[in-house]
């Protein structure tokens, strides 16, 4: 006896738990591998998973096994020209596992020295951002209508056909039918009984007028019972939805970059990697992340991504122009009550001589109050200038919300990023 079962619709991730257990157990190994790969590959292809390899000996499951040595006899197929008693040179190294003749020992493990597997993009990013925390992540309350979400809120008598609740409607209909029929049915039964008793009487004693009356009465009642509708508009019930305001979970990231003559393409690439990391990180924490690109030399301009990273400009540098622009964009489009605001700035540290104090003022007096977090990376191998010192003052004033680091070369980005967002002890 046999039978077939189609299991294809069943869940397919039966091994998900075991997979997670494995990743959990070898967390430190995987993290090391991920960190190496982040440094190795360009941040632009963070969007895919990663092949990770772990030394096989670290994850082997030991059991008692024969070691090399002693006397062993191995039977193998495919003899071509050996004759009994032939002596062969031992293939190099001595121990088990090599040469055709030693298949048995070769299969026992110890051969493969790397265990290789793939992480999905999600898992990969989990490891990349492991132990990092988004500072001051807040869920902002929003009054705007778009940010509501329909929630089921019981049953109502009015609604659109699409939301009809069939079970409840039918139940109402049945109750109504029972209720409306009951008096009619009772009257009908009485009339039928009366008619029967009338008809049972001796023909002489019958009252034909009464019989006619009863018959028409019965007919009338039956008609009325029949005319009770099976389903009346009155019975219909609808699932009721109300709109609940939803805490907003959206963020804007302002990328500010200096594109003056002193910024080379290499500087910009480093900046780009930093912005990308931040973007990926924000994306994991917020449902919706918008990007605003602001570049500046002596004047600031909002541009699209392409232009932001690749167009070339020359000229001096006035950082405050960018900060002013960001401030006005916030005022125009991103109310701080509705958006989580992040600013990431990359620069080589050059600024117009007396502009740094303007920046300090701008940040201190208006911008910092609105922002969730401000990160500044200075891409320079040289000594700091006035801008750094001005920002340092801001950092002192807003230690929770302001972070700055220096990057010398591309390899520094990831460590610096980790430093900026490392989980801070809850104080």
């Amino acid at each position: 006896m046999s039978y077939f079962i189609d299991r294809r619709p069943n869940a397919r991730n039966k091994s998900a738990v075991n997979r997670q257990r494995f990743l959990q157990r070898y967390r430190s190994h995987i993290k090391r591998a991920v960190e190496e790969s982040v440094n190795r590959r360009s941040i632009t292809d963070m969007e895919r998973g990663e092949k990770v390899s772990i030394p096989a000996k670290d994850i082997s499951e030991p059991s008692f096994q024969h070691g090399p040595g002693g006397r062993r006899t191995v039977v193998s197929p495919g003899n071509k020209d050996f004759a009994e008693g032939d002596r062969l040179r031992r293939p190099g190294g001595g121990g088990g596992g090599q040469g055709g003749g030693d298949g048995q020992a070769g299969n026992q493990g110890e051969g493969m020295d790397e265990f290789v597997f793939s992480l999905s993009r999600e898992e990969f990013l989990d490891f990349v951002f492991d132990g990092l925390e988004l500072p001051h992540l807040e869920r902002k309350q929003l009054q705007v209508l778009e940010e509501t979400r329909p929630v089921r809120a019981g049953i109502s008598k009015e609604g659109v056909p699409a939301r009809i609740n069939i079970v409840r409607s039918m139940r109402e209909a049945q109750a109504r039918r029972i209720g409306m029929r009951a008096p009619l049915k009772r009257a009908l039964r009485e009339a039928q009984e009366a008619l029967e008793s009338e008809e049972r009487k001796d023909p002489v004693l019958r009252n034909p007028a009464r019989i006619g009356e009863l018959k028409s009465e019965i007919e009338r009642l039956e008609k009325r019972i029949e005319s009770i509708p099976f389903l009346d508009t009155y019975d219909l019930r609808y699932n009721h939805l109300t709109h609940q305001p939803m805490p907003s979970n959206q963020a804007v990231m302002f990328c500010i970059m200096d594109v003056s003559g002193s910024m080379t393409q290499a500087h910009k690439d480093i900046g780009k990697r930093f912005f990308l990391l931040l973007y990926l990180f924000l994306e994991r924490n917020y449902e919706k992340v918008e990007l605003v690109f602001v570049r500046h030399h002596t004047v600031a301009k909002e541009v699209d991504e392409e232009e932001f990273f690749y167009s070339r400009e020359t000229g001096g540098t006035i950082v405050s122009s960018a900060l002013t622009l960001v401030n006005s964009i916030i005022e125009a489009r991103y109310a701080p009550e509705q958006w989580n605001l992040y600013v990431a700035q990359a620069s080589d540290g050059d600024n117009w001589d007396d502009d740094s104090s303007t920046c300090l003022e701008l940040l201190d007096e208006s911008l910092m109050r609105k922002l969730q977090y401000f990160t500044y990376v200075e891409i320079t191998p040289h000594a700091h200038q006035a801008l750094w010192e001005a920002y340092d003052t801001v950092r002192a004033a807003y230690p929770e919300r302001f972070a700055m680091q220096q990057i010398v070369q591309a390899e520094d980005i990831y460590p610096v990023f980790r430093e900026l967002f490392r989980q801070r002890a809850q104080s």
């Binding site: 006896m1 046999s2 039978y3 077939f4 079962i5 189609d6 299991r7 294809r8 069943n10 397919r12 991730n13 039966k14 091994s15 738990v17 075991n18 997979r19 257990r21 494995f22 990743l23 092949k51 994850i59 082997s60 499951e61 030991p62 059991s63 008692f64 096994q65 024969h66 070691g67 090399p68 040595g69 002693g70 006397r71 062993r72 006899t73 191995v74 039977v75 193998s76 197929p77 495919g78 003899n79 050996f82 004759a83 009994e84 008693g85 032939d86 002596r87 062969l88 040179r89 031992r90 055709g100 003749g101 298949g103 070769g106 299969n107 026992q108 110890e110 290789v116 597997f117 793939s118």
Partner: protein
Amino acid sequence: MTRRKPLATGSDWNFETLEAYEHAIAALAREYRLDTYPNQIEIITSEQMMDAYASVGMPIGYHHWSFGKQFLSVEQAYRRGQMGLAYELVINSDPCIAYLMEENSLMMQVLVIAHACYGHNSFFKGNYLFRAWTDASAIVDYLDFARKYVARCEERHGVEAVEQLLDACHALQSYGVDRYKRPSPISAEEEVRRQDEREAYLQTQVNRLWSTIPLAVSGLAQEPPHDHENDPLGLHRHGRYPSEPQENLLYFLEKNAPLLEPWQREIVRIVRKLAQYFYPQRQTQVMNEGWATFWHYTLMNRLYDDGQIDEGIMLEFLQSHTAVVSQPGFDSPYFNGINPYALGFAMFSDIQRICRAPTGEDREWFPDIAGSDWLETLHFAMQNFKDESFIQQFLSPKVIRDLKLFSLVDDDRDDSLQVEAIHDDRGYRRIREALSVQYALSAREPNIQVWEADIRGDRSLTLRHVQDRRRPLGQSLFPVMRYLHQLWGFPIRLESMEGGDVVRRYQWPIPESSRESA
């Protein structure tokens, strides 16, 4: 003879055609007296097949990282195209569960039904090892019990504690079997019913063994001659415990480890019971695959002869079958040891040939079976042997010649390898002997037994390893001893024996003195 119309053609399948073919194969199988459990044939996707792979063929299992590791490596190999998934997976259970992948062509599905649902299935039901060691009707329930029990322990004692315990047990799972005693079959109902009872009972047993108040401890050896010189009060006269060496390490730990909690003993037991379930499979790989391959080959040919499959399917089948039973030579880049499908198929086919058309050589080598009823003989061979004895009994000179087998001796006292025997008259018996030993479990896994638990001294546990042809233990010895130490709770000693003498001693934890000297 007019040929019947084939049941289906082309490479697409649907449930109706599968049922029709299953029906046709079942009728043929009855003719060949293949006695099987009912078949539960499940169609699954390739992802589900990877899941099934990862759980080493158990339909349900407890959670453990090692299965995750297994899954990741299967997934990696599959995604990169290094490895195709097996076309089928079959579970020794009643009803016998077989998985068919939806990607398979019609030919593959029919082949798998013949191979798994009639070949393997009848092997599970007929072979003596499976009959003695596994209870097909109870395994799925037991797995379910095990999964729930482990999950409950994880809730109560934490995932990590359970994981560490399972790690330690897994390291010893090859040593969780009584090789010579007939085990009691496992039954889930019974397990659940008796579990609490057993927990309490086990604990009292252990307590009794380790109690410091002298009680007559059962199971101790007969009193050895009393050493009046060194032990005038006779404190050690009770002899060694256990009185006989114990080969089932997990069983010994479950019953005797002094410090394990009752739930930990239960988990040791679960690992041991599952190891027991897989024990016959490890010893019958050549036979099992050979049997299933022989039957899919025979059944497919019958289907073709009866006109139920057309030439297209037959050609596709022959191509696939040839790939399955190919045996690359030792010097081929594709060589990966002896292919159990090839060897098993060659042997069963050869037994059939010896019965039907024996040569003079066969009559000399196999006087009992030459010319006998082939079906009868094949069933007898399938039922009463394991790889080791099957090869010893049935490997014929013809198969040795066909596969061009030769045996090579690698002795560490000799500076070169020596060809001991080849496929000639002088070599047949020696090759047969050597190949049989190669499949003996005792030659593949070191022979390690519990020698003594020092219940009156430092509570250390001494194991004895009897060396097989002077082969020492491999590097993984120390991690395993560490796990043993975790389970036992006191020092572990291990002695390697060669010809009755101790040749090497190991200890865990590594004693301070030797650490300093090292």
